[in-house]
């Protein structure tokens, strides 16, 4: 079970100092991953498409193969679109999230600061929220499936004002009646800060910052 005091996805700072959060995955990594998948998938599908086209040019179009290939070609096209989307996402404005404390306990207030760099003026609306999520993994046939359920959502900021979007701060208070981060092999409780910046005709800013939530400070014993 995870019981670390330090925060996940964090850089810098000491136990009492501020904490700069890191996104759960990098945009470049997402773009590279989607490129590799699109290249692999379309590389294989293109062999059959090439075979189909060559047959058609010889006057022997294989209808059954063509119908069979339709879903695979559609998935390949979707993979290309996703790659382009991920590639453009690299150039979206970047956000740095800083928390005032490194150790975040249930019920304790924490100051949250955000600051965008890059073409921040393209963001039309900013939404930052905290989400608590159950994650349960289980075997399904020969693979492992994971179900997720969001049990807590705390809205922190929603704004369409450019000055508010560029940088700001708010108070984050984790629900005192909830549970800390829990990490077992197949079952997890995760807490994420989600930053969503809506950009017209361009991939949105959609970054997730996992935070390690510690148990509440000990309560006074009953009288």
């Amino acid at each position: 079970m995870h019981d670390g005091a330090d925060n996940m996805g964090a850089t810098g700072g000491n136990d009492n100092g501020p904490l700069v959060l890191r996104a759960s995955y990098s945009r470049l990594g997402k773009a590279i991953g989607s490129f590799l998948f699109a290249g692999f998938w379309n590389g294989i599908v293109s062999i059959f498409v090439f075979h189909l086209i060559r047959g058609a040019m010889r006057g022997a179009f294989e209808w059954l193969l063509a119908i069979f290939l339709i879903p695979f070609v559609l998935i390949g096209l979707g993979a290309i679109v996703f790659f382009i989307h991920s590639l453009l996402g690299i150039f979206a404005p970047r956000v740095v999230i800083t928390l005032s404390a490194r150790r975040i306990r249930l019920g304790d207030p924490v100051e949250l600061n955000w600051e965008f760099t890059g073409r921040v003026q393209v963001i039309e609306k900013l939404n930052i929220c905290l989400e608590g999520c159950e994650e349960a993994s289980y075997r399904r046939g020969t693979s492992t499936a994971t179900d997720r359920h969001i049990f807590a959502r705390v809205q922190l900021i929603t704004s369409s004002d450019l000055n508010d979007i560029r940088s700001g701060h708010t108070r984050l208070q984790l629900p005192s009646n909830s549970v800390p981060t829990f990490t077992a092999r197949s079952n997890k409780i995760v807490w994420n800060l989600r930053v969503n910046g809506v950009i017209r005709r361009f991939p949105d800013v959609a970054d997730t910052f996992p935070i390690n939530v510690l148990p509440a400070a000990p309560m006074e014993a009953d009288a």
């Binding site: 079970m1 019981d3 608590g132 159950e134 075997r139 049990f151 909830s178 148990p215 000990p218 309560m219």
Partner: protein, 126 residues
């Protein structure tokens, strides 16, 4: 007679983290025993594959065929006892007899309010 029992002081079944969990086990078994173990642990229930962990354990070696022993644990900080849509965490006290493997078990709650946390429940009013 083949009997194993586990109980807590004042029949308390809910504890805060850091609180003392005191109790006793009793047994009356027909043959020689190698050991009796008392465990404090948790397990998950729900949609995910079960996870479980023994957090603390007390072992009594070469006990007589019948007897009783007190035990004491400190309730850990986490995980809390909770119940959600997909996952629940249940704390338990368990006594296990070696080599027979016979067991007795008592479910308990460990949480700051001494009540199982229900995920998604509205926050208490100030």
């Amino acid at each position: 007679m083949n009997e194993i029992r586990i109980g807590t002081k004042d029949e308390q079944t809910a504890f805060r983290p850091g609180e003392l969990i005191e109790g006793a086990i009793g047994w009356n078994l027909p043959e020689e025993l190698r050991a009796i173990e008392v465990r404090l642990g948790w397990q998950t229930r729900g949609k995910g594959t079960e996870d479980a962990e023994t957090v603390n354990e007390i072992k009594f070696d070469d006990p007589p065929a019948q007897g009783a022993r007190p035990f004491q644990f400190v309730a850990p900080d986490q995980p809390y006892s909770f119940s959600g849509k997909l996952i629940s965490v249940i704390w338990f006290l368990e006594v296990r007899v070696r080599p027979k493997g016979a067991t007795a078990r008592k479910d308990i709650i460990i949480a700051p309010t001494r009540q199982e946390v229900i995920l998604g429940a509205p926050a208490p009013s100030e």
